[in-house]
């Protein structure tokens, strides 16, 4: 008996009509969401599900239990889309290291931000030509073009305009001289020594916000 048949059976039992049902699947199929909606399923989520998504998916139907009318089906996408647009940052991550890419991307996505990844400074410049970003997280050392060179190119392009791209130098392991190089490159260090802390809006260690 699959999940849908089980839900149909549950719905036939008067004593279970008030049950809040959430469906979890590891492979979504076309039409599943519509079928869930028809069966009064509260949420349809793909596995593996993140702890925070599950918590929110459970909290919403329970919180909405007293509301009247049709409650829209909760999905992974609706959980993200329901965030206030002003709270969602568009972030460009310029990083060549796979582990760091995954780490920073997941931490940002968990907080509902949208992340675009570039593998080096050159790719980051191309991405910035195509679209606008609220923030750029820039690794200092990358192949092809490093973060220092890419940020210098961004600043050069901004000369004579009112545009100012926020660029945050990103390194998990600050090497002697990096901070000095940022300063020498004309970048304004406005937040230093954040080691050991997680800022609520920006999510990496050892970072310097550079102007």
């Amino acid at each position: 008996m699959d999940g849908f048949t089980l839900v149909e059976r549950i719905r036939q039992k008067p004593e279970l009509t008030a049950a809040t049902i959430m469906m979890l699947t590891s492979a979504g199929h076309r039409g599943d969401a519509v079928r869930c909606q028809e069966l009064g399923v509260a949420a349809y989520l793909l596995k593996p599900i993140r702890q925070s998504e599950l918590r929110e998916a459970i909290a919403r139907p329970l919180g909405a239990a007293e509301e009247k009318g049709t409650i829209p089906l909760i999905t992974r996408f609706s959980l993200q889309d329901d965030r206030h647009p002003a709270d969602v940052l568009r972030v460009l991550l310029a990083e060549d290291n796979l582990v760091n890419k995954r780490l920073v991307t997941r931490l940002l996505e968990k907080r509902g931000h949208r992340v675009v990844i570039s593998g080096n400074g050159y790719e980051a410049l191309l991405a910035l030509e195509k679209e606008t970003f609220d923030l750029v997280f820039m690794d200092l050392q990358m192949p092809e073009m490093d973060g220092f060179e890419a940020t210098a190119a961004i600043r050069q392009k901004e000369k004579g305009t009112k545009i100012h791209q926020e660029v945050i130098a990103l390194t998990a392991h600050a090497m002697t001289g990096d901070r000095e190089r940022c300063l020498a490159g004309g970048w304004t260090v406005i937040s230093a020594n954040l080691y050991g802390q997680w800022n609520s809006t920006i999510f990496c260690r050892n970072m310097w916000t550079v102007g």
Partner: protein, 124 residues
């Protein structure tokens, strides 16, 4: 006043720092450990080849990549060992190449079981 001494940098893996870095998210921890364990052998092979052929540029770039990964995994000792190879690649002493590689190999050998144990401790 006696200052507390932080010995965490002397450990192969600073688990507290790593957990804090992943926001105490055990799924993310598992993902990162798996990714690291997939990437690490490839990078180590590249470093071994670079050392045997004395390809300094590869040594510098691959040493840098591995250093960054190790730092993110809160494996400071191994990160410093990778950093040493990176520095040699950048123009350091060739005579120390094999010794530096051996030091990194031994740090990685200690680190991998520590990472596995960290997942077991986290119930993953």
């Amino acid at each position: 006043m006696v200052e507390a001494i932080d010995h965490s940098a002397e450990l192969p893996l600073n688990i507290g720092e790593l957990l804090s870095r992943v926001d105490n998210d055990q799924e993310l921890l598992r993902e990162l450990v798996q990714l690291f364990k997939e990437e690490c052998p490839r990078l180590m092979k590249s470093l071994r080849d670079a050392v045997s052929k004395e390809q300094m540029k590869t040594l510098e770039t691959t040493g840098h990549t591995l250093k960054g990964m190790l730092a993110s995994m809160s494996a400071t000792r191994a990160a410093l060992a990778a950093s040493r190879l990176q520095e040699i690649g950048r123009g350091g002493k060739h005579s120390q190449l094999k010794e530096a590689l051996a030091a990194l190999e031994s740090e990685i050998a200690v680190l991998i079981p520590e990472l596995d144990a960290c997942l077991v401790d986290a119930g993953l």
